[in-house]
Symmetry: C2
Subunit: 621 residues, 2 copies
């Protein structure tokens, strides 16, 4: 890649940024878009879709950028929860790392690289210079200037480790503070119990009740047994569809009635038939749902959400082995009620195990098949090869601007497009892997994407054979967060509507990924110093990954336990605060039904669709 191609790419990106920025500033003021741009405010009822937005003009609306930077972390915390704060801090962390890397890279390393003579490139025609002139490739073999790179690796590692440590420290203290300040939440009082043994003639529900009444007599509150509801869910989905069609027909009827008044009489009778047909069908379906719902009561899965009166009891139940057999009465911390992913509860161990194997196989296949788009991109950066493969393009490719776009912008665009397909695919794969919480699915997908990226950058690297050049790319994925960091705050505050709250549990993933990147950088540095014939620098870099790993193990010991659960001290203090809280008894009432399968909750067509109202359905289950 040559310098002018890079600059073309930068120019296109900046132009697109400006375009999107302008479009966003205009579109967000349209009242009809409020649902799309400020869904959280609409959802919370703080903003009516047809509000004051309509009077503002384009230029005043650019102020959102300023407003976006204003909210403090505390505002974010109270509005969107700890996860949003941690999310923001991850961006800020990325930005800080990038800022340091840019300063060191541009003002120290780049000039020294440029002064090298290794690549013997003509000095006169700067725009057409290969980017390698600015990379470490251009430093003379065995040159003492390589010691500047050596120092940079040490200093960069130290700075990143310092940032990681202070961030970990900050987030874990925030986590405790958030726990203290949060209202009682169902998942703090609840454990998920699996592999519940049943004796003959006794239901799962009775087993759970008698076991926990026996061993936690003073703190056991209630339980919800999980039931096989996939058939019920199917029926409800069908009923939903019919209900939507019914509403559609009704609204048409309404317009037709208005039309009728103004003279159109035509197909009215037929519409009434259709309406009757759908209402009849919905009535039948509601009957089916009711029948299925009564039969579901018997379809118990040996798993239950068990709620306690105190957080400590829930923690004790989740930490201690409960039954004599270690394979029975398995307990784990329950996810948020909104975070529960129901479909995989009812599946057997064998089915889950096979799904798991299939997902692993699929992930590996996708990771390897991704080499196809990478090869296409590699072809584009080598224009000469492209001319050989597709000779008819020769005329176009020789236009300067085309060649710059093709070699500078198109490769990264194509790669980004393909890369953007990966996360949704990984989420689908993770969701069929048998997790019981949406947050677990997202975390697993996140890790999958991470490994996918790492493997592909390296596999692509080996294929292209220019390992030295790629080092810059590895050091630069940090540029992405910067762009995002500018755009995200305003978005988070207005757009982000938290579905569940993990209390910042995903920070350790970011930490581990950063440590991995550092170790990778060290290994590459050791290799480069070897290639560049400074073996002493190579050997002196070896302690660095070891020190980094020691630092990591210290961080794991020092902070990670705080992300797995809450300490007894906090649980007991918080429980004591609750005792003096008058709202706790109403919370207990809510808690008793919090973990009911959504399919078992009353559906509301009846009250809305009017005619087919059946009060038993509303109060069933």
């Amino acid at each position: 890649m040559i310098l002018s191609a890079l600059l073309t790419s930068v120019g296109i990106n900046v132009g697109l940024c400006f375009l999107f920025f302008t479009l966003y500033s205009i579109l967000r003021n349209r009242p009809s878009n409020a649902n799309l741009y400020v869904p959280r405010l609409v959802a919370e009822g703080e903003l009516e879709p047809e509000d004051e937005f309509s009077v503002r003009n384009l230029f005043s609306s650019v102020k959102w950028v300023k407003r976006a930077w204003q909210p403090s972390e505390d505002e974010l915390l109270s509005n969107s929860g700890l996860d949003a704060v941690v999310f923001m801090r991850i961006f800020t962390f990325g930005f800080r790392v990038f800022r340091f890397a840019v300063i060191v890279g541009i003002f120290i390393l780049l000039p020294f690289n440029y002064m090298g003579n290794q690549l013997n490139i003509d000095f006169t025609d700067l725009p057409n210079k290969s980017l390698e002139t600015f990379s470490i490739s251009n430093v003379d073999d065995g040159s003492n200037r390589l010691w500047i790179h050596f120092s940079a690796v040490y200093v960069f590692t130290a700075v990143v480790c310092y940032l990681l440590y202070s961030e970990y420290d900050y987030i874990s203290s925030k986590r405790i503070a958030f726990f203290y300040s949060s209202k009682p939440r169902p998942n703090q009082f609840t454990v998920l119990v699996r592999s519940i043994p049943t004796t003959s003639g006794r239901s799962v529900s009775e087993s759970v009740e008698s076991f926990f009444r026996e061993y936690y007599p003073s703190t056991y509150l209630s339980h919800s047994v999980v039931r096989r509801t996939s058939k019920l869910k199917g029926l409800i989905n069908e009923a939903d569809k019919v209900y939507k069609r019914l509403r559609h027909v009704k609204s048409k009827k309404y317009t037709q009635q208005r039309f009728k008044r103004s003279g159109f009489m035509g197909l009215f009778g037929q519409k009434v038939d259709l309406l009757d047909h759908y209402e009849k069908k919905l009535e039948d379906m509601e009957g089916n749902v009711r029948t299925e719902r009564t039969s579901v009561a018997g379809k118990e899965v040996p798993a239950a959400f068990v709620s306690f009166k105190s957080r400590l009891s829930a923690a004790v139940a989740s930490h201690l082995q409960q039954g004599v057999k270690p394979t029975e009465w398995l307990t784990e911390t329950a996810p948020d009620p909104q975070d529960v992913y129901w479909p995989f509860f009812s599946s057997s161990f064998l089915k889950r195990w096979m799904c798991n194997l299939a997902v692993i196989f699929a992930c590996i296949s996708i990771t390897f098949l991704f080499v196809v788009p990478v090869l296409i991109v590699q072809g584009l950066t080598h224009l000469d090869q492209l001319e050989i493969w597709l000779p008819f393009l020769r005329g176009i490719l020789h236009l300067k601007i085309v060649s710059q776009v093709v070699t500078g912008y198109l490769p990264s665009l194509i790669l980004e497009m393909f890369l953007s397909l990966v996360p949704p695919v990984m989420i689908v794969l993770s969701s069929i892997q048998g997790y019981i919480a949406l947050s677990q699915i997202e975390k697993s997908a996140c890790i999958k994407v991470l490994w996918f990226t790492v493997w592909n950058i390296f596999f692509a690297n080996v294929l292209s054979g220019s390992a030295l050049y790629k080092v810059d790319i590895i050091l630069e994925p940090k540029r992405l967060p910067e762009l995002l960091a500018v755009a995200v705050p305003g978005q988070l505050l207005n757009v982000y509507e938290p579905k569940f709250e993990t209390g910042g549990k995903f920070w350790p993933v970011v930490h581990d990924a950063t440590i991995f990147s550092l170790i990778l950088m060290h290994v590459i540095a050791i290799g480069i110093f070897g290639v560049k014939k400074v073996p002493l620098a190579s050997s002196l870099t070896i302690p660095l990954p070891i020190l980094t790993l020691i630092f990591n193990s210290y961080c794991r010991r020092r902070f990670l336990p705080s992300f797995k659960g809450y300490p007894a001290e906090c649980l007991i203090n918080k429980d004591r605060l609750d005792q003096s809280d008058p709202t706790i008894s109403s919370f207990y009432d809510e808690l008793a039904t919090a973990y009911r399968d959504p399919a078992m909750k009353p559906i509301r067509y009846s009250s809305e669709s009017g005619e087919s109202s059946h009060s038993p359905l509303l109060h069933s289950a």
Copy 2:
């Protein structure tokens, strides 16, 4: 090694066995040896050293063999605890595995091996045949007979896995039963707390007291802070020595007084001076001990044994993170009071870390240096080489019996002698590694010896280059338990005086080692089938280690948690039983002082030595 040499070796071993058996049968009847042969009975006062033993004769005493096999497991359990039972079961397990291996090996595999022609050895002179004639080496390459070996590997693995499973199941159920039947034991009610934070002006003891009074108000009982007592221990050791000398002089004085009566007057005055000297010295030392003991009170280590009123509270405290900082208030299950290894409590984290590193280095060095005796042994089995190195031995070595002893018996004797040095060395190494329980030291030493053996058998193997022959050796370490199993029962019942009780916690080590041996056998089998040109058998053996590992992971999930702690169900039931037990309050009193450092317990010279009695010392600390 040739057959006759093996038979010579077997003959010598059987002869030695008979000799030791006869010696034991005679010597155990000497009343003066009771302390040595039945120390447990003597210690428990069930047997006076000068008892009925003296009247029996040699032949009736051979009955001990019969009696040794009579005690049931329940007797063993009530006499020597669960550890003794598990120990016995390990021998029995080894014996069962060995019995199966012998039946398959001698009656199925050996005849087929012998019928092979691969090694082309003369059939007429059986005694001088190499043992390899009976090994798989003699089976023709590509022969269908190798499928018998293939089946044997599968069947052997299945049988061993079945035995492992039933043993694990049996021992873990015994563990729970033993827990239910056992009297309250201090370690069930106690946790060890480390890294106790202290605020200025507050002692560790005050910190512990206020923390546990705050968070476990209803169940917290007492605590003992660990103190730096190495100096005190030194003083007590010195005082012990002086006290022993004093007793020695006194007993001499007593005999001299008797001599005096019968006329010898001589050196009496001098003896009295010596007695005075030692008494004075002991008095000074007791003074020093008393002074040091008062100053020790201030030498607190940030660690304490914290006792609770219920087992559940102790389990909760050891399972949950206690303080907000995960590096403070670290809790773990306390060892038995008798099991506590005090010296390493007071050492700093850095010292422990450095000791750990040094021990790892020493272990690796010993493991590698062991190649020296192995090489000597290898030299002995190759007599011809020995003749070249030491030509003057030629005459002796050509005697048939000498050559058979040298090649058949001497190598294993020398190896066993060197091997017998390894366990004590490993115990010394483990004891300076920073463990706080004797049982942990023994377990760690056990694992070290295991890896030492595995590595050395293989390293020796690679050196000697006869990988096929050694397979038999790997399959045969199980022969050792059989010999031991015959001798051990009577011994365990009378000799074994349990110092501490782990509740059979070492069984998982045996399980893991057996699984490792199986996998090793599979890998070797895969290699052999490859070498013997039956690639299909080689490939078909590959699933076996995978299946074994799946079996192992199932066992770990199914049984291992039972060996790490007790389930909530058992803890709560046992606690409830205690509530109706009238002796529990006296147990609580004992518990409060159970974890006092032995150096802080009263010493008893004063009351026994009479003259230098100082009542404050008796009641101090």
